[in-house]
């Protein structure tokens, strides 16, 4: 397919502007380009066809089953889009929030922020929530900065964060950027984190632990409450990475399990768009200990309606305005629509679906662990790899069969891993078709391995050279 630049014809325009009927403003020479910007020149219909064609080449949740493990690629309901498009939200200028004189125009948005924060807090058993962080990893950074603020406030020199090797992959980077040393803790071969392993790493310098529960093996951590007690006995804090909250929403609350701080992924659990610019939203919840340090300003209920206040010990802003506010609008619509029982049912069905797929595939693909999976199941394609078909080949072969690939080569603890997360929004028929494709691929490993190694054949592009793409970065365009 040609790029829009390649289709460009000099002088072609989409819009004919009326003649200028005001004096032309003269810009300072220093601000002007020496040469005109090299933009494509196209007619309106050319532009429409170009982007419509591109959208048809897209592989997304609206067109395909997308069982990308650890990513919770659930359907983004159009109801939430309709709510977000309401003029009162869509056309509200964020600068109105910067002066108390204009707060009367922001009451609806403030109320939505306040209620979304309260609902998220209730769902996870937290005292308070901030909507500011604009991505999951940004939430992790905010959470670890809050942990640092807590220890600094107490004059503590604790500087190390423990992170199990089954934690969400971005945790070590977030903790390091917040200024902590990171100590990785190996999980037990059954895929869970043992209290003894944490005890062995425990000392006075430990400021806290970051856990993902269920972990990235798709397993619930049975020792989570004991680990939290161990941390608290040493004045250390417990962080909950909400990457896998979709497994326990409405069933178990991180706050009740002993977690002090956590992030949510609205773009996973709360059905807002995920991936390729979402944009994301990673609200952070805190318990009693960390509530005084939350980013500001906070939306609070005053005598004359909602107003903004900063907490005395706040770590300050972590994003402009209120983060990706329009994602909060969508999540609010989602929570309103599902209600308390519906949210619980979403998690129950997410776990049911993952186990439905697991039950169909476990005789052909080798399970990575023996414990019951939660909302995603993990296989190891080592037996297939020994026959010359790697997890990557299986992933690419799925594309030809009309399914997005599962996550491969993550978690890092599992060789040739295939990590499948169907989410609750897929029908039984779709999952059956996916399982049939997986079983057919497993047969082809013996009968026609070459066809799998050559996949995909039906996509806009064939097998990409991932190594060359990583080694020869070309960011000039």
């Amino acid at each position: 397919m040609q790029l829009s630049y390649e289709k460009s014809v000099p002088g072609r325009r989409a819009i004919a502007l009326d003649p200028l009927d005001v004096p032309e403003a003269v810009l300072p020479a220093a601000l002007c380009r020496k040469e005109p910007a090299a933009l494509p020149e196209l007619g309106e219909l050319d532009v429409v066809r170009h982007f419509t064609r591109l959208s048809k080449l897209n592989f997304g949740i609206d067109s395909h089953f997308y069982p990308l493990g650890s990513c919770t690629m659930k359907y983004n309901p159009k109801l939430a889009e309709a709510v977000a498009a309401l003029s009162g939200f869509a056309h509200l200028h964020p600068h109105l929030s910067t002066s108390p004189a204009f707060w009367k125009h922001c009451q609806g948005a403030f109320e939505l922020i306040h209620e979304t924060e309260q609902w998220l807090a209730e769902i996870a058993g937290m005292k308070d929530v901030t909507l500011q962080p604009i991505a999951g990893a940004h939430g992790e950074l905010t959470g670890t900065l809050l942990m640092a603020a807590y220890h600094r406030d107490r004059g503590s020199k604790k500087d190390t964060i423990l992170i199990p090797d089954s934690a969400h992959g971005t945790n070590p980077a977030s903790a390091a950027i917040a200024g902590f040393k990171v100590l990785e803790i190996p999980s037990h071969e059954d895929g869970t984190l043992r209290l003894d392993s944490v005890k062995a790493a425990m000392n006075d310098s430990v400021a806290g632990i970051m856990m993902t529960c269920p972990n990235t093996h798709g397993l619930f951590e049975p020792a989570v409450a004991e680990i939290a007690d161990l941390m608290h006995a040493n004045d250390a804090l417990v962080y909950y990475d909400g990457a896998n909250l979709n497994a326990i929403m409405g069933i178990a609350r991180p706050g009740d399990l002993g977690f002090d701080v956590m992030h949510y992924n609205l773009h996973k659990t709360f059905a807002t768009p995920h991936g390729m610019g979402g944009p994301g939203s990673g609200p952070v919840g805190v318990g009693e200990r960390l509530a005084p340090y939350l980013p500001g300003p906070r939306v609070v209920k005053g005598e004359d309606g909602f107003e903004l206040r900063n907490l005395e010990k706040s770590i300050g802003r972590v994003a402009a305005f209120f983060g990706n506010f329009m994602m909060a609008v969508r999540a609010y619509a989602y929570m309103s629509h599902l209600g308390k029982d519906g949210l619980r049912q979403a998690s129950e069905n997410a776990v049911l679906n993952a186990n439905y797929i697991f039950a169909q595939l476990k005789h052909v693909y080798e399970p990575a662990f023996d414990l019951p999976f939660m909302h995603e199941c993990v296989f190891t394609a080592v037996p297939q790899a020994k026959k010359g078909v790697r997890a990557l080949d299986i992933a690419k072969a799925l594309l030809d069969r009309g399914f997005h690939a599962p996550t491969v080569y993550f978690p890092l603890t599992v060789k040739e891993s295939l990590m499948i997360e169907p989410t609750e929004t897929e029908s039984r028929e779709t999952m059956d078709e996916f399982c049939d494709a997986m079983l057919e691929i497993a047969e082809a490993v013996d009968s026609d391995p070459e066809s799998l190694r050559e996949a995909p054949k039906t996509m806009p592009v064939g097998r990409l050279d991932e190594v060359r793409a990583a080694r020869q970065l070309n960011c000039a365009c």
Partner: protein, 128 residues
């Protein structure tokens, strides 16, 4: 299977001594597990390392991993070739694919490391 003139760690680094200078890299096993290596981050010359410190990192299409100093010492040289040709780690892990060199090493620390036979046995256990 693994060269006899070097020592190994359970994190899959190798270290070889020549005239008081200790050259460090990662093993063929580690390189194969990582897959095609796309980027290597090396320490600065002059950096002081304790045994077990994170000294470098490698990125492949699959993962990013730390490389730890198998012994303590001062970094006296780094392999600049890896900046433009990280594939050398896959192609020739024990010669052209070396990472960095240490001086001022306490030889006693080498005793804490595995010899080729012990490392081979360890790797065999890892594969199950």
């Amino acid at each position: 299977m693994f060269p006899k003139d070097m020592k190994f760690t359970k994190d899959h680094e190798w270290v070889r001594e020549e005239d008081g200078v200790y050259t460090v890299g990662i093993t063929a096993f580690a390189a194969e597990q990582l897959g095609d290596i796309t980027y290597v981050e090396l320490p600065e010359v002059g950096a002081e390392m304790e045994q077990g410190d994170s000294a470098a990192s490698v990125e492949s299409v699959k993962a990013a991993s730390d490389v730890y100093a198998p012994v303590g010492g001062r970094v006296c040289d780094i392999n600049h070739d890896l900046e433009s040709a990280p594939e050398l780690v896959n192609q020739d892990p024990y010669e052209q694919g070396w990472f960095f060199r240490l001086e001022g090493v306490r030889p006693a620390q080498l005793k804490t490391l595995l010899d080729a036979d012990a490392y081979e046995k360890y790797v065999g256990e890892q594969e199950h």
